[in-house]
Symmetry: C2
């Protein structure tokens, strides 16, 4: 079934009375919800008159805030007033002094002990069960590459595979070249090189690729195939080939090496890739979807192009859905280190064990040091668009971002590029860059991606379906064929967080089953795999 518009483009916004949204009782600011903002002089429901024009998503002071006093949103100080701010004023970023990051010592550890939520049973989707027990939501032939050198040849071959082979294998959804910039010209023995190497390894093992691992290698590169995928890191799918090669089965990685003496001329390289691809396509084509429990979902949640509504509409709806998924026994990853750093105390408190809390602190400390090496800190995160959308600084942005994680206990932590090993809610430590986060969540084994956006982005991945959630109805209307869900209805007052959360949950099962495509899939919008390589290039 094709995607349906999140909001029909013709459905204009109704004229509405002035509307502000306050997150917690003790907050002394609220954000303006109305499209286009509100002019100076507007009288709010409680009788407060605006002293300034306040743009949509931006904050208005609900009370007089004296210079040096905290500006409270989400119940916490997102900054301190640099001068007296009278009630009714526009509280923009230049009026706020951002607090320092909370230290990583003396944090509350595993102090929040929510009652075990009721299991959520009976929800299923139609997925591709893999030999290792994982489940794919798509049936894709991936061509792993050891190095950027082979990208041109592989791309040439992929175009031919798409034109000549895919039509013969109608049960295969696509062929994807896992192009990347790594593999040579990099300090591959540097301590931090472990990150990009394991990322590439684990991407090639993503459940949407059906356990078929096919590698194109140049030959002389630093990232040799056996270093990328050492024996034991993958399993052979074809039982006949296991029987053929006997005890060495695990070493039988399928590699097309361009520098092999057997290759005479460019076309012989291309033909080798096509020949090997066809072996894998034949096996992938024999697979069929089967009914599996919702617990087989491995969902990565992310936000990008955020605005002040992200933390009010889309992210809370995703958080509600995260709780549903955890209750259903599924796996959910939240990420974006700089966008949760300022909520570290909330996260360590929600850790299921002290070990989980320590692992989170370890990842945050590593990232603090990494940023410091480059002479910046977490405040490097916010964008011009964030600020235009009302987010004054990274503290305010983080408070809105972190709610995607819902309320379940955090039971796991992944370092960048690691593969997910457990169900439940995991903090997958990644940079906040949309592409690096998506790449690392793909490596972790994500089979479905949820992406919220306030400013709007046409983000998509080739390997995993991406459900995009708009934070505002205005965006959902204009980008009616790019946004899959409109959470702006929450700010409009026409839907609740719970309703949108359930809508998203059901859409996830539909998309995972292949019954529905996302808009990014419909238009084939694919962003690049972007590796996190904290080590030097050479």
């Amino acid at each position: 079934m094709p995607p349906t518009p999140a909001t029909p483009p013709s459905e204009a916004a109704p004229l509405r009375p002035p509307l502000t949204i306050k997150m917690q009782a003790r907050d002394n600011v609220a954000i303006v919800a109305n499209d286009g903002g509100l002019p100076a002089g507007t009288v709010l429901a409680d009788g407060l008159a605006l002293r300034d024009r306040v743009p949509q998503g931006h904050k208005v002071a609900l009370a007089d805030i004296a210079a040096g006093s905290p500006v409270l949103r989400y119940g916490i100080p997102i900054g301190h007033a640099v001068s007296d701010i009278p009630a009714g004023s526009w509280v923009h970023e230049r009026l706020l002094k951002m607090p320092d990051a909370r230290g990583l010592e003396g944090l509350p550890v595993a102090t929040v002990r929510p009652a075990a939520p009721a299991p959520l049973d009976g929800h299923t989707f139609e997925g591709y069960r893999n030999a290792d027990g994982s489940v794919g939501t798509r049936n894709i032939l991936a061509i792993t590459q050891t190095v950027q050198c082979v990208a041109g040849v592989t791309d040439f071959a992929v175009q031919r595979i798409r034109a000549e082979l895919l039509p013969k294998y109608p049960h295969v959804d696509d062929v994807v070249a896992l192009e990347h910039s790594y593999g040579c010209g990099v300090a591959i023995d540097a301590p931090d090189a472990v990150v990009p190497i394991r990322t590439l390894r684990n991407i090639s093992l993503n459940p949407n690729f059906g356990g078929e691992v096919m590698v194109v290698s140049l030959g002389c590169e630093k990232l040799q195939p056996e270093r990328l995928l050492p024996p034991g890191s993958f399993s052979i799918v074809d039982e006949r080939s296991v029987a053929d090669v006997g005890a060495d089965a695990e070493a039988a990685l399928d590699v097309v090496c361009l520098q092999d003496d057997a290759h005479v001329g460019f076309m012989s390289m291309v033909e080798s890739i096509l020949r090997q691809a066809e072996t894998h396509l034949a096996r992938l084509n024999a697979r069929r979807r089967e009914t599996v429990p919702a617990s087989e979902l491995v969902v990565g949640v992310q936000c990008g192009g955020s605005d002040a509504f992200s933390g009010v509409t889309a992210n809370p709806a995703v958080g509600f859905c995260t709780d549903l998924l955890v209750r259903a026994g599924a796996s959910v990853m939240f990420s974006e280190t700089t966008e949760v750093r300022d909520g570290i105390d909330q996260l360590t408190a929600r850790a299921s064990t002290p070990e989980v809390a320590e692992a989170m602190i370890r990842e945050m400390a590593w990232y603090d040091a990494y940023l410091q090496r480059g002479r910046v800190d977490r405040s490097a995160n916010t964008t011009p668009g964030n600020k235009k959308g009302g987010l004054s600084n990274i503290v305010e942005k983080a408070m809105g971002s972190i709610v995607k994680s819902g309320s379940a206990p955090i039971t796991g932590v992944l370092a960048p590029g690691e593969k997910l090993q457990s169900r439940g809610l995991t903090y997958a430590a990644t940079p906040a860059s949309d592409f690096i986060c998506g790449t690392l969540q793909t490596a972790a084994g994500m089979n479905l991606h949820v992406f919220t956006t306030g400013r709007g982005t046409p983000y998509g991945l080739a390997a995993v379906p991406v459900i995009k959630v708009a934070t505002r109805s205005d965006l959902a209307r204009r980008w009616h064929d790019l946004m899959d869900v409109n959470a702006g209805t929450i700010a409009d007052g026409t839907a609740t967080i719970e309703q949108v959360g359930w809508e998203l949950f059901h859409l996830m099962l539909d998309v995972a089953s292949g019954r529905r495509k996302t808009w990014a899939e419909h238009w084939k919008l694919h962003n690049a795999l972007v590796l996190f390589n904290p080590a030097p290039v050479t």
Copy 2:
């Protein structure tokens, strides 16, 4: 004219007597030139019998070398023997202890004062003269992108431009989306962020794009269009539009912003890109090649997948050609910091002024510190393929790499991502990564690229033609439709360095004129733009 095979595939290697190549009189090792290497017991021309089998490209000891004594190649110690090495032994990497990098103090500065070489006049090519005086070798519409977010939409638009618009503009060679991973999710105010930002800016101004600058922006990204291309960094090509906008002409950057309110639906974004593209295509299509002097060539030289022959055949031929180009008044850039670091004394000696020498030392010192931050050093450079090809370590590799720079005085130095401002021989400081080096040389304004390879790589760029030179005839035979020049004839004894250098010079004029295509162009083999971003991501 289509490319012609560097060496016809059917032309088998003639049976040859044992052949070794010694670079300088004082060397105590030579490399084996024969395809397949030489077996133990082989008696060389001077009567020395091999004690071991020595693979092709690998070193044989010409005399007894006592433990601790220097192993000399290119007249310098590439290492010290870790144990006694009898004459006739295979001198492999495990027998060598690599020397420490030479310090950056007390270097000879501008001590080499070669007689001014005779000008080389009368050579021309057919190029596209740009408004700023630069000359393009191709006539390409480039679509600059501020951020990876827009890559999927731009790619969709480019496919339509290629199918629907390009056929109407037959004098335009191609349309290229300048996709990259930068623009957001990065510490854009970090001190080192200057490198990727100016790289992207200068790539969009490459002479092969005819001065037509067209930008696709998301809207909320950190790298805003006016930050990427501030007023004054580019000039308007269309004089009518200058007249229209009057004094603000320079601010009139052509930007398609996906988040613009005017865009309703995905197709409206695509249509905006097509509409703007057509304006530029019409202007590009009106251009014609004209005869220009060879001094308008801006050549970047690079090597990748090097072997022991690189420094014996292809790189010396490129070096000879570099001297021809400099004599003709052209611009030549050599790069790859870790691959010239061990020859820093040669480079500072060849600097035309103390300022040039100091700039080289500054760039090397910066890179030393950059590698040290990642807890590696220059030795992280060599690859498994280098070693298999006979290069024991980075010292030996560097001695072979540096000869691409020929013998002319070094008159300029560029920091990574800077645009070339002067003719003659310039050290463009870049990492040695093939893709990062090519990307930075493209930013510097390269209009022709020369790439030597011993192990073999199908390297290509979308923006600039790449002439690939094989170091060995065996590679040139097998990769007959990927290699443009066979410098292996030098080792075979069927051509001299000078002959191959002149062959390359004439081929460059033909390729620059569009009379000949390179093999990478013929197959449309394009590697990614890979930015050098020493700053953190967020």
